[in-house]
């Protein structure tokens, strides 16, 4: 059996061996979360839900190699891949629209169609306009349902033909006399007007009622056709007639509003303590606007969190290695109790400190280590109710002997690991930033600290102190 010099001398390991993974350096973790391999193999990393929908498989697993290879990003953008860098994005911030040379009035017996992709309305948004919203227009209400105005006569078509969100779909408007029929992927609704002469000369609305999304393939019967594709300034030229469209403030569609969210961050320790979030609104983001979020991490927005539930054997000593990039202060993760607010051991990142925060029935204790910069690498340790330490970026451990109640034993009832928040009962202090890595141990990892932190710092290009 090989025994290192450090080990033989009972000293802290200074360096990891070349090629050694984190879990080889410091095995027997309770749970280990990262987008890189902590095992040396190619373990599952995340289960991702994509915001753009297509078919029934909109949430699947990815290994660490599939995260880095681009497979994950391709999955997230696949429903709109044909439109990327070809179609135009209509941005509400810049009042994007296309003005046509002259009014287009839907003729009796004629049908017009428009393909679209958008993630939802920002208010009552305007899709087509001529002479202002109160005159001739098509609005999309907060129910995502069309409202048509013809010569100031306004009629709501209702949710029976509401637009689909986060899916490619086609909107058609057909006129038969004074009847207008609107059809979307939801269904078709017909309404009667005093006059059926639906008229517009703008796609995309005005300054106060913009529209957000992608539009292409606008066809007006057989007399006007606009591809809206190809990325050139002529994309909205009439390819059949001569009523050209002039784009204003359109931007290339690169996947704006196309995001990927983490449903599960898989545990690489082998214990199956996968951290999950079944509620979409609380899922952290891994792909934003068609690209992986920065910093090789997962983005928590100040309200997102993941939980590994029903975890057994959570008795101190506890060690946590956490690697993150902060936008604002918050808790990176914790050992905690699913039914109590006053039992946890958490690591928190402050504006200029990394903080260990233990609490077990009595008032909480905290100990902090100074740190600079937004990239963080913290080591938090508690070996008993009067022994808690924390270190930042390899720096000297700050210690406290303040009493946080009882040692964490089986009687404490800790039964979960949280990521992005310190507890699930009366949660607060949600983390805002990217979490790169989080490794929990039910053991004192002081002797492995230096080697683990060296490995981590090398991977994420973090300068240790």
């Amino acid at each position: 059996m090989h025994v290192s010099l450090d080990s033989a001398l009972g000293r802290q390991r200074r360096l990891n061996s070349v090629g050694e993974s984190v879990l080889q350096i410091a095995p027997n973790a309770a749970a280990a979360y990262s987008l890189r391999s902590l095992t040396g193999g190619d373990p599952r990393a995340v289960r991702v839900r994509r915001s753009a929908l297509s078919g029934s498989e909109n949430e699947i697993d990815f290994t660490v190699s599939e995260v880095s290879s681009g497979a994950l990003t391709s999955f997230v953008t696949e429903p709109v891949s044909a439109l990327l860098n070809s179609a135009y994005y209509f941005s509400p911030d810049s009042h994007s629209h296309v003005d046509f040379d002259s009014d287009i009035t839907l003729a009796d017996g004629e049908t017009m169609s428009l393909k679209y992709f958008f993630e939802g309305v920002t208010g009552t948004d305007m899709l087509f306009d001529s002479g202002g919203a109160s005159a001739n227009s098509m609005l999309i209400t907060t129910s995502i349902a069309p409202r048509v105005r013809i010569n100031s006569e306004s009629i709501d078509f209702g949710v029976g033909c509401k637009l689909l969100i986060n899916q490619l779909d086609t909107l058609t408007i057909a006129r038969s006399g004074n009847d207008i029929t609107i059809t979307t992927g939801t269904g078709a609704v017909t309404k009667s007007f005093t006059s059926g002469a639906f008229t517009f000369n703008r796609l995309g609305g005005n300054a106060s009622q913009t529209f957000q999304g992608v539009f292409y393939n606008l066809q007006i019967g057989s007399r006007h056709n606009y591809t809206g594709l190809g990325g050139a300034a002529t994309a909205w030229n009439d390819t059949v007639g001569s009523n050209n469209g002039t784009p204003d403030n359109l931007v290339s569609f690169t996947g704006q509003t196309v995001d990927g969210f983490v449903d599960t961050w898989y545990d690489q320790s082998g214990n199956g303590n996968d951290a999950e979030q079944a509620t979409a609104a609380n899922q952290p983001k891994i792909v934003s606007s068609g690209s992986l979020v920065p910093d090789d991490g997962i983005d928590f927005d100040g309200g997102d969190f993941l939980v590994a539930s029903s975890v057994s054997g959570l008795e101190s000593p506890f060690s946590i290695f956490s690697t993150s990039v902060i936008d604002a202060t918050g808790y990176i993760g914790s050992f905690s109790k699913s039914t109590a607010s006053n039992r946890f051991f958490a690591v928190q990142e402050g504006s200029s400190t990394s903080i260990a925060v233990p609490r077990n029935s009595t008032s909480g204790v905290s100990v902090s280590a100074s740190v600079s910069g937004s990239d963080r690498l913290a080591f938090a340790l508690t070996t008993g109710a009067t022994s808690t330490s924390v270190g930042a970026k390899g720096g000297t451990l700050a210690n406290t002997t303040n009493d946080y109640g009882d040692d964490f034993t089986s009687a404490s009832g800790l039964d979960q690991l949280t990521i992005g928040v310190h507890r699930t009962v009366s949660p607060s202090g949600y983390f805002n930033g990217r979490i790169r890595e989080l490794i929990f141990y039910t053991s004192d990892q002081s002797t492995n600290r230096s080697a683990v932190e060296t490995n981590t710092a090398n991977h994420y290009n973090i300068t240790l102190v």
Partner: protein, 78 residues
């Protein structure tokens, strides 16, 4: 934000389930993964508030929404 207030957690989750099914989240298609758009939170008067801002509400529900609620204070014990 818009919230619907329910007398029980079960009733709130039932509405959250309904929306999750309508959206077609993975849990309802494949039996695994994302289940809800939002999840209810307990209020100070022990009701349950469900954030329905992005829900497809019917007229009755829309008329019943409130703009805010008082969350349950930190119990600070177990």
């Amino acid at each position: 934000m818009l919230y619907l207030i329910y007398a029980s957690k079960e009733a709130a989750i039932e509405r959250a389930d309904e929306e999750g099914k309508e959206i077609g989240y993975s849990y309802w298609v494949n039996g695994i993964g994302t289940r809800w758009l939002t999840y209810p939170n307990e209020t100070a008067d022990h009701m349950w508030a469900l954030n329905v801002t992005d829900y497809d509400l019917d007229e009755s529900e829309r008329a019943s929404t409130v703009n805010h609620y008082t969350p349950l204070p930190d119990p600070d014990d177990d």
